[in-house]
Symmetry: C2
Subunit: 143 residues, 2 copies
């Protein structure tokens, strides 16, 4: 999660909402990304989705059953749906997202009878993950 | 929707679950795609997501407020979440998806208090959209 936080910090420096994500398989980081929505001008360029696409390319399959995704912020519905579609085995996220979180906040996607139900852990480095977001939005408001 | 059906048929010929999607803006088709999940070995390569990414590139923005997405099958949670994130104004889909549909079947994403609530119409060319899927799965079972 420290590495995911560093990716979030890099995103913030580029004017992006600071979220970082990485995918681990057999103890090895096989994909990592920060949010790129503004730079790519693309609605799908969230950190989790980019990391999952990289991981699919690394594994050579759309199935990431034996992978764990680490992300600083609770995934939105798009990213939670991507996690289900990619059969990601486990998700570890830092802090909740009261506005768009789809793993317990606004809705809880893993509770629905879909093709796959990932394991979910939350609260890892929670304070740091929240702080990087709060700092970003504070600096925006004072600009 | 006839064009979306043709894209679905093309996907079937490539061994993909036949789903086709396109994005229309000011009466003009600005993006179109069929499902490519198997060929791309990528969990995010659904027709809707690919069409939305193309549309963002065409418009030069992650906001597709004045666009309509046509898709043969009810969007899954990932694609419904992408529709919300991209602020797609309106979605028209053909037939329901009882296994993974996120616009009324398994869940109804537009009913949650998220950033955006697209207009949704369903049932356009419903029988044809269902038939292309049924034919694909029938031919798979007999192989």
């Amino acid at each position: 999660m420290r590495r995911a936080l560093a990716l979030a910090e890099q995103a913030a420096e580029m004017g992006e909402v600071p979220v970082g994500a990485l995918v681990v398989r057999n103890g090895e980081v096989i994909a990592e990304a920060g949010n790129r929505r503004e730079r790519d001008r693309c609605a799908t360029a969230h950190a989790e989705l980019l990391a999952i696409e990289q991981a699919c390319a690394a594994v050579g399959s759309w199935r990431l059953t034996d992978c764990t995704l680490y992300v600083t912020l609770e995934p939105c519905p798009m990213c939670a749906g991507t996690i289900v579609n990619a059969r990601v085995g486990r998700v570890v996220f830092g802090c909740k997202d009261a506005r768009a979180g789809a793993m317990g906040s606004v809705l809880n996607l893993p509770s629905y009878p879909l093709n796959h139900r990932p394991g979910v852990s939350m609260g890892v480095c929670e304070a740091e993950c929240r702080e990087v977001l709060q700092r970003f939005f504070r600096s925006r408001r004072t600009k």
